[in-house]
Subunit: 122 residues, 2 copies
Amino acid sequence: MATIKENSTIQENKQYALQQCPVTHVMEKIGGYWKPIIIYYLSTGDKRYSELKRAIPVITEKVLIQHLKQLEADGLIIREARPVVPPYVTYKLSYAGNGLLPVIHAMADWAFKDLDGRFNQV
Amino acid sequence: MATIKENSTIQENKQYALQQCPVTHVMEKIGGYWKPIIIYYLSTGDKRYSELKRAIPVITEKVLIQHLKQLEADGLIIREARPVVPPYVTYKLSYAGNGLLPVIHAMADWAFKDLDGRFNQV
DNA sequence: ACAAGTACTTACCCTAAAGTATGTATTATG
DNA sequence: CATAATACATACTTTAGGGTAAGTACTTGT
């Protein structure tokens, strides 16, 4: 799991940003290229690990797992493993994870308006 | 200005993420530790460059300018320079930049709930 | 003549995060 | 007996972006 240097300036500044800005707090949790996409896929229901992998083909397994673990550690998703062979593991949004959907939707709204050029007036 | 390798896998994947996910589109524009903070400060009205610098003391000038230029290039903020000496430059949110405020607020809402532990009930 | 203030610019370094490649355990199936 | 499938793990490399430090142009104040 990602080795992070404790005392780098970059970490200190992150702390500052976290305290100053709730938005940064959210970014910490859903930042990175893939996390929002994972959350989006999970918003339509439970998904198996392999389903996610197939749904987002260009993501590598290392990064997918890494993000899933982080999302789980942050309490945004819940992992359920059935003790069978071959393994059967599903992921779903937690209560907090579901709480992020309005954020996701607000972002999507803005993105679509932006892409449509609806902000180009003035 | 940031030199970006044209053909890296990381850039190709970014493209993929951008197409698949409007959220990533937004992240492209307001990602990075400082951009949301800058937008937040500008949400209360025009600010001079030096005001921003003083308001966010730990940010370095290089990074502040860099972000301001990117935000301007992305059409989120508007730069106004009066031809006087010493220079007098102000930044303000554009129409599109103002459109981001609901996103910022949705994020802030979630962050405060999360920090309050209001998501901890299952 | 020299420092101070504004709004930058530039060259170089370091770190976090993404990517590459390969390996693991377990069981069913041909 | 070897292969396939699932859900990971791990060692190593590369890249984007943030940080450090110093410099620039122009004018006013002392």
